[in-house]
């Protein structure tokens, strides 16, 4: 710090410090912390509480109607009493009967006015009792909603088993993509790095650089053309007589996880080639010669000399490939969209832009971030490399 001030003076040094602080705090730390906060805040939609409120309102309305009906019936009864009908004894009798049977109000209209009133009063009584229960329930639900709005793990624990499986599968698939990329490209990286002929090395390098620089989406697009129902692969198979497209049996390549897998290997393999190439390129060829002269076999030379030397490159390549594959939205979203099981990134996307539940979306992206961080740490342990070897 002192050295910075001495070299560049107070003004410039403060400017640099300020910019770094801005970058670190406003662009890196705060957005992540904000996302993490959202991930741990359960956003209750309060579905149950709202439902119980609606129920309570409906019961109040019903009670009001009943009371209105009773009043109307009483007015009617008084009119009839004046004419000399309906003795008082009958009312008491029917009252007890009404309590026992609890006749639904719709059918009551057939009985005498007293019977009707009694039945309605019974119903109102029942409803009022129900109301007490419901109001207790409502307070409980509202309190629960309040409580749930605090910090909790609910965004993670409510992850359905389906989403959990997608999460697991995404990580497993990404790991397989990483592994395949490594196996396929190690010989390539080694050959290009150790080619003695400058012309040839430059040509090979060019051959790797061009596809690497072409947009990810276009590389995916090229493969979708091949794998489409009427695409290159099916027409070739048709021409070879292996399938018969006229009979309407093209193979639906795009509708499989395998297609996503293949395209992913294609799209991200070069992120594995270059880091490994970069490390092997600095390996002194004499070491390989020495190993051969001492009688080591080809495999032994690679296991004992080249691979240990290439560790940092392998770590970087694996981390990049895994991270790109696990967080890929382009490949699963564009290769036969909707035809194959989801990738975790698609679940995250839907939580944000379709379900509109940002907190669960945040929780899921945090889970993805944690998985990738875990992968990086494991890599650093396994390959015994530090953070400065990884990012340089």
């Amino acid at each position: 710090m002192h050295s910075l001030y001495r070299s560049y003076g107070a003004v410039l040094a403060s400017l640099f410090l300020g910019l770094v602080a801005l970058w670190l705090v406003a662009l890196i730390a705060l957005p992540q912390l904000n996302m993490i906060e959202r991930a741990f805040v359960y956003e209750s939609r309060g579905g149950a509480a709202i439902q119980s409120q609606v129920d309570i309102d409906r019961i109040y309305q019903r009670i009001y109607t009943i009371e209105y009906d009773i009043d109307a019936l009483r007015d009617q009864a008084e009119g009839e009493v004046a004419i000399g009908v309906a003795p008082g004894a009958k009312i008491g009798e029917d009252n007890t009967a009404g309590v026992g049977i609890a006749v639904p109000s719709a059918t009551v209209s057939s009985g005498t006015i007293e019977e009707q009133i009694a039945a309605l009063e019974t119903e109102a009584g029942g409803l009022k009792a129900q109301l007490v229960d419901l109001e207790v329930e409502e307070t409980r639900l509202l309190e629960e909603k309040e409580a749930a709005s605090g910090y909790s793990l609910r965004n993670f624990t409510t992850m359905s088993s389906l989403h959990l499986r997608i999460f697991g599968m995404t990580l497993v698939y990404s790991f397989c993509v990483t592994l395949i990329c490594f196996v396929v490209c190690y010989p390539i990286a080694y050959t290009v790095a150790q080619t003695a002929n400058r012309e040839r090395a430059a040509m090979l390098m060019l051959g790797l650089l061009i596809p690497y620089a072409i947009n990810e989406l276009l590389r995916i697009f090229a493969w979708t053309m091949i794998l489409a129902n009427e695409g290159m692969l099916n027409t070739t198979l048709d021409a070879l007589g292996l399938i018969d497209m006229a009979q309407g049996e093209p193979i639906r390549w795009l509708a499989s996880n395998g297609a996503v897998f293949c395209v992913m290997v294609y799209a991200y393999i070069l992120f594995m080639v270059f880091p490994i190439y970069n490390t092997i390129e600095t390996l002194d060829r004499n070491q390989i010669e020495a190993s051969k002269d001492l009688g080591a076999s080809l495999i032994r030379t690679h296991l004992r000399v080249v691979l240990p030397y290439a560790k940092p490159g392998i770590a970087v390549g694996s981390i990049m490939t895994f991270m790109l594959a696990a967080g890929s939205i382009a490949v699963p979203g564009l290769v036969g969209p909707g035809l194959h099981p989801d990738w975790f990134s698609q679940v995250i996307y839907r939580n944000f832009f379709e379900a509109g539940n940002w907190n669960i979306g945040s929780a899921y992206s945090l889970a993805l971030l944690a998985a990738c961080t875990g992968f990086i740490l494991v890599n650093m342990l396994v390959f015994r490399v530090g953070i400065r070897d990884i990012a340089k």
């Binding site: 710090m1 050295s3 910075l4 001495r6 070299s7 560049y8 003076g9 400017l15 640099f16 410090l17 910019l19 770094v20 801005l22 970058w23 670190l24 662009l27 890196i28 730390a29 957005p31 904000n34 996302m35 959202r38 010989p187 390539i188 400058r198 390098m205 060019l206 051959g207 061009i210 596809p211 620089a213 072409i214 947009n215 990810e216 989406l217 276009l218 697009f221 090229a222 053309m225 009427e230 695409g231 027409t235 070739t236 294609y266 981390i319 991270m323 790109l324 967080g327 382009a330 990134s345 995250i348 979306g361 945040s362 992206s365 971030l369 990738c372 990086i376 953070i387 400065r388 990012a391």
Partner: protein, 295 residues
């Protein structure tokens, strides 16, 4: 004796490597076919007068996807690139964002690199880890967190601005690493000499440090530009209802394939090939010059 040894080595190599070499060469051949055949198919399909991009169903050579076509009354009969306003607008958005990203990420990366090369405490590793972490994060996490943060804090809806910020966060890390690599080769004695000759710290920075970093600033700007234009994952989440060239390509692919995308692909491939070839040629010329200097 030495001649004999060399001869012995020669025979062993001839015997031992022959098969290995054939297999290896075949493997490399296949690998490059695997890399280039899909791209070749994509390029070829851009010149096919077929509504769905294809090479197997050839309906004649055409440039209509690049130029569009009109009938004699001047009505558009084939929508090619010039008629596709969304693509053109997307390209404009991409350029705007890329420009912003360059303006933000280069000062950030430069400051980070200058600070880290001068920092010799344990905090340096921590700071380094934090500053490179955006590179190692999945792009969608960056996009998502930036989008939420700017809306929660400042009420800024997702759009070109948030996309630019989200990209700058990790492109800044790339720039920083490039600057650090360059600064490690810096001769501090030059700065010291500047001070000894009575220059102010500002003058030393402007006349010694900055010119030394000049080529790296240019390279970093190019890399930042390319990274920004090519980015899909982060942009897709951070851009909301707006679009760039690349997110528009993605949107088109979702709703079925269109040869206009092939036409864009051809342009991308052409630019890439020209850029890559000139890069390799330049690098080779520089290497040769260095070799010549070493004698």
């Amino acid at each position: 004796m030495t001649a004999l040894a060399e001869q012995g080595q020669g025979t062993r190599r001839a015997l031992g490597v022959d098969w290995g070499n054939i297999v290896l060469n075949a493997y490399i051949g296949f690998f490059f076919l695997y890399l280039f055949v899909p791209l070749g198919i994509m390029v070829l399909a851009a010149f096919n007068a077929n509504d769905t991009p294809s090479v197997s169903d050839w309906r004649g050579f055409t440039l209509q996807w690049f130029t569009g076509a009109e009938n004699q009354a001047g009505e558009v009969t084939v929508r090619g690139l010039p008629q596709d306003t969304r693509f053109l607008q997307g390209l404009w958005h991409s350029l705007l964002i890329a420009l912003g990203v360059i303006c933000i990420s280069i000062p950030l990366g430069l400051s980070g690199a200058l600070l880290l090369t001068r920092l010799e405490s344990r905090a340096s590793t921590l700071l380094y880890t934090l500053l490179v972490s955006p590179m190692l994060m999945p792009g969608i996490v960056l996009g998502v967190s930036t989008m939420i943060f700017w809306r929660d804090m400042f009420g800024v809806e997702a759009g070109l601005f948030t996309a630019m910020i989200a990209q700058s966060v990790f492109i800044g890390s790339y720039c920083m690493l490039m600057f650090m690599a360059r600064l490690q080769r810096q001769d501090r004695a030059l700065e010291e000499a500047g001070f000894d000759l009575g220059a102010s710290s500002f003058l030393v920075f402007r006349r010694i440090t900055l010119p030394f970093l000049g080529p790296t600033i240019a390279t970093a700007a190019v890399i930042a530009f390319l990274q920004s234009i090519e980015n899909y994952n982060t942009t897709f989440f951070a851009i909301g209802g707006n679009w760039t060239l690349v997110t528009e390509i993605g949107a088109r692919m979702r709703f079925g394939l269109s040869p206009v995308v092939n036409a864009i692909g051809v342009i991308f491939v052409a630019i890439t090939i020209v850029a890559a070839v000139s890069y390799v040629l330049l690098k080779r010329r520089r290497d040769q010059r260095i070799l010549a200097l070493r004698g």
